[in-house]
């Protein structure tokens, strides 16, 4: 594994290795000294062309807990706002000696471009590209589900909401399929992407019908900032048909968990009472995110780099 660009690139063994490694690294957060010396002297650049709180802080915490040096770059207040291209930014970072680049970009495919160009030879980690993929989110979701539900093979996972604009949904669908889970995507017809029938998932327009068998329900944020047309008549109608409220939550099986990748629109796709209930593992997802990202950085940067393998 040289880069992490897509959840679909991971084999079952690789995904399991990342999750198992994360399980061990989770205990580091409970120790008095929350630091491992493993990546000392390595430089990791957080290259964020799009706003982010959770993901950027999570990657920063993960890198620092492994003793790597972290350089944070956000498009606002950098030369990118003066019109510098991705290529020139990447060349600059390469000249400064970055061992890994964690990139979030508003254009789908930007991490792929960066990884397959000659602009930099560090590892590239996709931290969300446009409406394409967000593999570390899928890994932390799988990690959270696995810690509550055990082995994911044969489990029923329902992902509800704005699938069309969601990189989280795509990465989750690919990874969960690799891990053997059955994924159902639930959304209004306007919010399912073209070509969804080629994904390894089932689809439905009816949220209520998929409640009783779900082992986990993942609510997606309605991404207003990416919507350039009317995808549903009103927020209230969306919320009534596709929002998770207490009545719907009570129809889930006893062991089922409620997830949300954040940031939440309370009252829209998820009710505040549900988000704060003990079924909700939303805060735990954030904690697990740091451990999963530590595992990814360790497995990408911790060993010999390609070519000097013994």
């Amino acid at each position: 594994m040289k880069h992490l660009l897509s959840a679909g690139d991971l084999s079952r063994d690789e995904a399991t290795l990342i999750l198992d490694t994360a399980a061990e690294l989770l205990s580091v957060a409970k120790r008095p000294i929350k630091k491992l010396p493993t990546l000392r002297g390595r430089t990791i650049v957080n290259l964020f062309f799009e706003d982010s709180t959770r993901t950027r802080i999570s990657f920063e915490a993960a890198a620092k807990r492994l003793s790597a040096d972290v350089i944070n770059f956000s498009a606002k207040g950098s030369s990118a706002s003066k019109g510098e291209s991705l290529k020139d930014t990447a060349l600059t970072l390469q000249a400064m000696g970055a061992d890994a680049v964690v990139i979030r970009h508003h254009a789908s495919g930007a991490p792929y471009r960066l990884a397959h160009s000659k602009w930099s030879n560090g590892a590239v980690v996709n931290a969300g590209d446009g409406t394409h993929e967000h593999p570390t989110q899928a890994l932390l979701d799988a990690f959270t589900m696995r810690s509550h539900l055990g082995d994911l093979a044969g489990k029923d996972i329902t992902i509800v909401g704005d699938v069309l604009h969601s990189r989280v949904a795509r990465s989750n669908a690919l990874l969960l399929d690799t891990l053997g889970a059955n994924v159902t995507l639930v959304a209004p017809p306007t919010l399912l992407p073209v070509g969804v029938e080629t994904w390894p998932v089932a689809t439905s327009y009816d949220f209520d019908a998929s409640l009783e068998k779900a082992d986990a329900v993942m609510m997606l944020r309605v991404q207003r900032e990416r919507m350039n047309a009317s995808f549903f008549p009103s927020a209230r109608e969306y919320s009534r048909r596709y929002g998770l409220d207490v009545a719907r939550m009570n129809r889930l099986p006893q062991h089922a968990i409620v997830m949300h990748p954040g940031p939440m629109n309370r009252g829209m796709e998820i009710n505040a009472d549900v988000a704060d209930s003990d079924r909700s593992v939303i805060v735990e997802q954030v904690t697990n995110g740091v451990a999963v990202r530590m595992a990814v950085l360790y497995l990408l940067l911790g060993g010999a780099t390609e070519g000097e393998d013994s």
């Binding site: 120790r31 010396p37 060993g303 393998d309």
Partner: protein, 172 residues
């Protein structure tokens, strides 16, 4: 060494640990994965038998502290499980084979981030020489003089599915 030799060596090491430390309550046994963990369990079981108080062994994974990480592909991590607070206690590290001493150096680093033990001691089943660091074992099952090109293979029933044994295997 065959199964009986290994069992005898572990019994002797157990008694030596107890003789040196007197108070078994103060001792924390930590095995270094993978086979060290099993050896630590056996030593702890023998200590429990002799002393009558239950001794819980732990495991200490040192992968993240190794100095040769960059020389190989990344390795999977093994569980770390330290049963109690180690501050002020005597920690006995247990490993199967002692050679360069680099694993033990990594273990000492890992320990120092978990707490401040009163003392750290080292028990190994086999000491095969070729030290690269100023490290020595307090309790040794057997000293096996070897050539550097040889390989010492420890097999334990729980891991390898064969009878316990220690063998020197020739040049590879």
């Amino acid at each position: 060494m065959d199964a009986t030799d290994i069992s005898r060596a572990l019994t002797r090491i157990t008694h030596e640990i107890l003789e040196k430390n007197r108070d078994a309550e103060q001792v924390v046994i930590l095995g270094i994965p993978t086979r060290g963990v099993e050896l630590a369990q056996r030593i702890a079981a023998k200590m429990t038998e002799v002393e009558g108080t239950t001794i819980t062994p732990g495991a200490l994974d040192v992968t993240m502290y190794r100095d040769d990480l960059r020389l190989r592909a990344p390795r999977a991590l093994e569980p770390t499980n330290v049963p109690e607070d180690i501050d002020g206690r005597v920690v006995v590290l247990v490993d199967d084979v002692l050679m360069s001493g680099r694993t033990i150096r990594a273990a000492l680093d890992a320990l120092s981030e978990l707490g401040r033990p009163k003392a750290v001691q080292l028990a190994v089943l086999v000491d095969r020489g070729h030290r690269e660091l100023p490290i020595r074992a307090d309790f040794v099952g057997k000293n096996l003089p070897t050539a550097k090109t040889e390989k010492v293979q420890v097999r334990l029933a729980e891991f390898d599915g064969t009878e316990d044994s220690v063998q020197i295997e020739g040049d590879r």
